[in-house]
């Protein structure tokens, strides 16, 4: 099937620095592609190029096969959810949601029910007359999403939409978003620096670094075969060395017994939810990270023996030891 959104070899320069350096990406109809990258990697510039708010120095953007290069933002039919929402504070909730509908001259009689429908969709029924300034961060986020969806854009762009919210709220909204995208069959390009968000929402994940596309694939593909050492580290895989990744959960650590001197000493043990991350200093001076689930885990200072399950060892495709 032809992709809904096609970004072809797009380059954006600010002076000497290239914010985007020959970026190519496709978003198939009805899919959610998340763009994952640290701040400054160019992911926001990518969104702005698609939205038409930033003119690319070269390359082009196609929407359903149509070249958008000379189409101004207000005629692109693309929805954008801004970082920090950019809600209109001089209008109430309903005024925000109705804005896009008024712009395309919907009659008043259809605007009102549509606004009500949107508010129900995002779980804010009855909020029509509320001032946006009185809304909580999560509610503002929902209004921003509903506003962008109101006129049924062909593609929805989201720029770190959950960035300013606290963790628990983020987890809840993440589930809501996932459900909404599924229900509405939205085609979306979603930008984030948070790996959990990217993997949870994305049918496919595109990883960016320093203005370039590093790797694109399903979450499983990325997790199973990261393109290089930096990406492996960025994804949170420990034990990256000499082009090889040893997954922490493939490392078994046992307290040394009388007959077994062991291979190293536990340096730190830190609990992350259900698992405990152990850092073991091996006798040859190197360290290795292990994730264990046992409650009775070794403690710092304990001598331990270390075993590695070969199934958890990944050879990186390009040996990035250069």
């Amino acid at each position: 099937m032809r992709p809904m959104l096609c970004i072809e070899d797009v380059t954006v320069r600010f002076g000497e620095k290239a914010a985007l350096d020959g970026v190519t990406l496709e978003v198939p109809d009805g899919e959610v592609v998340t763009v994952l990258g640290p701040s400054g990697s160019g992911k926001t510039s990518l969104l702005r190029v698609v939205a038409g708010l930033q003119r690319p120095d070269s390359g082009r953007v196609l929407l359903a096969g149509e070249d958008l290069t000379s189409v101004p933002p207000h005629r692109r039919g693309i929805g954008l959810v801004f970082q920090d929402h950019a809600l209109f504070h001089h209008r109430d909730v309903s005024g925000n949601l109705a804005f896009g509908l008024r712009m395309r001259r919907d009659p008043r009689s259809t605007i009102e029910p549509r606004v009500r429908e949107l508010l129900e969709l995002v779980g804010l029924a009855g909020y029509e007359r509320r001032s946006v300034a009185t809304l909580s961060g999560g509610e503002q986020q929902r209004v921003a999403l509903a506003r962008a969806l109101a006129a049924k854009p062909r593609v929805l762009l989201l720029d770190e939409p959950l960035g300013s919210l606290d963790r628990r709220l983020r987890d809840r909204l993440l589930e809501d978003l996932d459900r909404l995208f599924d229900e509405l069959g939205v085609t979306a390009l979603y930008v984030t620096h948070d790996q959990a968000e990217a993997f949870a929402l994305g049918d496919r994940v595109a990883v960016m670094r320093a203005g370039r596309m590093v790797q694109t694939g399903t979450p499983d593909e990325l997790w199973a075969g990261p393109a290089d050492e930096d990406l492996a580290r960025f994804l949170g895989l420990g034990n990256v060395r000499d082009g090889t990744v040893v997954r922490p959960e493939a490392v078994t650590v046992r307290r040394a017994t009388d007959g077994d001197r062991g291979e190293g000493i536990v340096e730190t043990a830190v609990r992350h939810g259900p698992t405990v991350r152990l850092v073991v200093r091996l006798d040859d001076g190197a360290t290795i990270e292990a994730a264990v689930t046992a409650l009775d885990h070794p403690l710092p200072g304990d001598r331990v023996s270390v075993e590695i399950d070969p199934a958890g060892v990944v050879e990186l495709p390009e040996n990035a030891g250069e």
Binding site: G77, F82, A86, R104
Partner: protein, 537 residues
């Protein structure tokens, strides 16, 4: 927006926002200025050296007086205002908002009214002379220091001072080593404004200076109107322009040098109610003193307007509707003239200043236009009025008797205020608001109507009120241009003062009270509309 090539309407809009203000400035500012320049360097059609006037001892004396009275006025204003700035910058108390509003009243009062208030309140020995001028300047400008410094003070993080305390600094050390250096930029900014206003002061000096004391402004008027020496007036105008340019340049340098970075905090995190008895006494004492300083002259002004013979009555007010030998119209007609002129001037100032604010506030906005628009402020009203007189007095552009010449010159004086009030609000609009509107399908013109205009509407209303008050009280330029049969209020007051007799004096006071009331009402209406912080108002 950096997105797409501007559409035709975007280009037309830009041409409008730059073109209209620039054309207005060219015709009504640059051209009169050129006329002044031409008049200054020519004598009887020949090029003449300006040195005789510039080195004249009278000129030297006038320049010297202008400079030292401006310095002394600034120092006096800061001393008078600082306690109140401190109180507003550190404490919350009931009526704080009222205090902030009332402090501004003298600043928006026409200078003629201020001069008359001090004529009324000062003992005869001090009535005319340098002391009266300094006190009146402090009265007039106290608002600038209180508002600028007080507002900044209220956003200073008190934890810095607290940190100094934990490091062993006592109250005076903390004031000297932490608070004052942090306040310095706002103090310098406020002092620069006060200095400029005192330097270019006209109405106050003309009325309170007596025959002995004249600023450059007053001397331009004397030379042009009383001596008919247009060349001397033109050259003095140029001296004035050079001095003002120098002062502005120096104050900008000073502000840049004093600028301190650092996070400012929200007012509500800084202000606390006064707790100890000493704090309460200080708040009450400094507000009370300021209240007396600002209130007494105005009360005495009203009292004097009611004084008839040995008793009180409304005789002076009743006389306002009758013809008088002081004017070619009844005083009441002067009131109507003032309101009509000020309304027209406000309309012009809001349209031209509003367009200019859009041009100035563009992200790629022009610093040059911004600077050009501030020029009329520095060039001074008297110079504008004088420039109009010599520029538009002959064909092909003989505008002098045109009825709109007074509103135009008043608008010129008010435009810098309009730009200063509206542009910061426009700049404060998050660009993403406009982008969000565009993403929702709004073309550029629609974005301006849906986003910029509603947000900026209140600032425009405030600017209109301010422009109205400024135009109403405008004296320096209007006194050159208002025709004898169509005087404005300040001009009529001035004419009455020049006449002997108790009734004439009482009528001057009565008209000053009327002017004060009209101004106060227009400002009160405006103060009900609150602007975002960052503007001038």
């Amino acid at each position: 927006m950096d997105g797409h090539r501007d559409s035709l309407s975007a280009r037309a809009w830009r041409a409008l926002t730059y073109g209209v203000p620039l054309a207005f400035l060219a015709l009504f500012f640059a051209y009169p200025l050129a006329a002044i320049l031409e008049r200054g360097v020519r004598s009887d059609g020949e090029l003449a050296s300006p040195l005789d006037i510039v080195t004249d001892p009278v000129t030297r004396e006038v320049v010297w007086f202008t400079v030292w009275q401006a310095v002394a006025s600034t120092a006096l204003t800061v001393v008078v205002a600082l306690p109140t700035a401190y109180v507003l910058g550190r404490f919350t108390f009931p009526g704080r908002g009222v205090v902030r509003a009332i402090v501004v009243v003298p600043f928006v009062l026409p200078t003629v009214v201020v001069a008359l208030a001090f004529l009324a309140v000062l003992p005869e020995r001090l009535e005319r002379g340098w002391a009266a001028i300094l006190i009146a300047h402090a009265f007039f400008n106290v608002a600038v220091v209180v508002r600028v410094v007080g507002t900044f003070w209220a956003s200073l993080d008190p934890r810095m001072s607290e940190a100094a305390a934990t490091l062993g600094a006592g109250p005076w050390r903390r004031l000297r080593e932490v608070t004052l250096p942090l306040l310095a930029p706002s103090l310098a900014a406020a002092a620069a404004i006060v200095f400029l206003f005192s330097f270019t002061s006209f109405g106050i000096v003309l009325i309170l200076g007596g025959p002995r004391y004249a600023t450059i402004e007053a001397e331009i008027y004397n030379q042009a109107v009383r001596m008919f020496d247009l060349r001397a007036a033109a050259l003095l105008s140029l001296v004035q322009l050079a001095c003002v340019a120098l002062a502005v340049w120096a104050s900008l340098r000073l502000e840049a040098r004093l600028a301190v970075g650092g996070q400012l905090r929200a007012e509500q995190d800084v202000l606390q109610p006064p707790r100890r008895g000493r704090e309460k006494a200080f708040v009450a004492g400094s507000l009370g003193m300021l209240g007396l300083f600002l209130g007494v002259p105005l009360v005495v002004l009203v009292e004097r307007s009611l004084a008839v013979g040995s008793g009180y009555g409304f005789e002076a007010y009743r006389a306002l509707t009758r013809p008088t030998s002081a004017l070619l119209a009844t005083p009441w007609e002067a009131v109507l003239n003032s309101v009509v002129y000020a309304t027209a001037a406000t309309a012009i100032a809001v349209v031209i200043g509003g367009l200019a604010a859009f041009a100035v506030a563009r992200p790629s906005g022009s610093r040059l236009l911004d600077g050009l628009l501030m020029l009329p402020l520095g060039a001074s009203a008297v110079m504008l009025g004088f420039g109009f007189v010599i520029a538009f007095d002959r064909a092909p552009i003989d505008f002098r008797s045109a009825p709109w010449i007074v509103p135009v010159v008043q608008a010129l004086v008010a435009i810098p205020f309009v730009v200063r009030i509206v542009a910061p609000t426009l700049r404060a609009i998050d660009e993403r608001q406009r982008e969000a509107a565009a993403m929702l399908g709004a073309p550029p013109g629609r974005v301006r109507r849906e986003i910029d205009l509603p947000i900026v509407a209140r600032a425009l209303a405030v600017a209109a009120g301010f422009a109205f008050a400024v135009s109403l009280g405008e004296f320096g330029a209007t006194v050159f241009l208002a025709r004898p049969d169509n005087p404005t209020l300040p001009v009529a007051i001035f004419r009455f003062l020049g006449r002997p007799g108790e009734l004439n004096a009482a009528q001057a006071y009565a008209l000053a009270v009327v002017l004060m009331v009209v101004t106060a009402v227009s400002i009160l209406l405006v103060d009900r509309i609150r602007v975002r912080r960052g503007g001038w108002a």
